[in-house]
């Protein structure tokens, strides 16, 4: 029931771009993206809803392909502060409050 994330890890230089993918075998209502830094709690980045638009947050944006039940997180012109583990969380129904998380993608941005 939990989504599958890829890749497991990414190493970038500052200024480079990255894409993190999240896919589900079940129909989804929503996809949530979080970033977790070492020793801290996951922090909410954005949510994409079925039938909704692509979202953006600074230089981080995401899309949701309902036909494929896939979401992608795009990080452009990466900064050192983008380092952390990115998780996608998915819900199958509106209001069922059952959020399942992928295994995470560890992103490291180097100077």
């Amino acid at each position: 029931q939990q989504p599958v994330q890829s890749p497991q890890a990414v190493i970038l230089r500052e200024g480079e771009d990255a894409v993190i993918n999240c896919s589900s075998s079940k129909a989804l209502y929503s996809v949530h993206w979080y970033r977790q830094k070492h020793g801290e709690a996951p922090v909410f980045l954005m949510i994409l809803l079925k039938g909704g638009e692509q979202k953006g947050h600074e230089k981080i944006s995401a899309s949701f392909n309902e036909k494929k039940q896939q979401s992608s997180l795009y990080l452009t012109a990466s900064q050192l502060s983008y380092s952390g583990t990115y998780f996608c969380g998915t819900e199958m129904f509106n209001g069922n409050n059952d959020m399942r998380f992928g295994a995470g993608t560890r992103l490291t941005v180097k100077p």
């Binding site: 949530h32 979080y34 801290e40 909410f44 949510i47 583990t85 409050n97 059952d98 998380f101």
Partner: protein, 110 residues
């Protein structure tokens, strides 16, 4: 003001002991959760409560018992602690679409 708070932040205890973790949210949310994050960083849902009612109870040993005295609080009591219970436990709350995590409680069982 902290939106979702947990106490304690660190908990070190011996096998066989009983311990509790407390969670409070001041966001007015109806739904609260407990997640376990193991050493591989996998976030696994344990329980979900909506307005003090248990909604989700994943395959969790019955040594774990959640209690929600009101919709702002969700506590987790663990009996007969085992080495495998060592992990970071996150409380979260959800109102509308967005879900917010507490700072986590790092439990170490020796």
């Amino acid at each position: 003001d902290t939106a979702v708070s947990q106490t304690p932040k660190y908990l070190v205890t011996q096998m066989g002991n009983d311990k509790s973790i407390k969670c409070e949210q001041n966001l007015g949310h109806d739904t609260m959760y407990w997640y376990k994050q193991d050493s591989k960083k996998f976030l696994k849902i344990m329980f979900s409560y909506n307005n003090k009612e248990l909604i989700i109870n994943e395959t969790v040993p019955n040594r774990f018992s959640p209690k929600s005295p009101d919709k702002a609080h969700l506590n987790l009591h663990i009996n007969s602690l085992e080495l495998g219970d060592s992990a970071v436990y996150f409380c979260a709350s959800k109102g509308g679409l967005e879900q917010y995590f507490g700072p986590g409680t790092r439990l170490t069982v020796t």
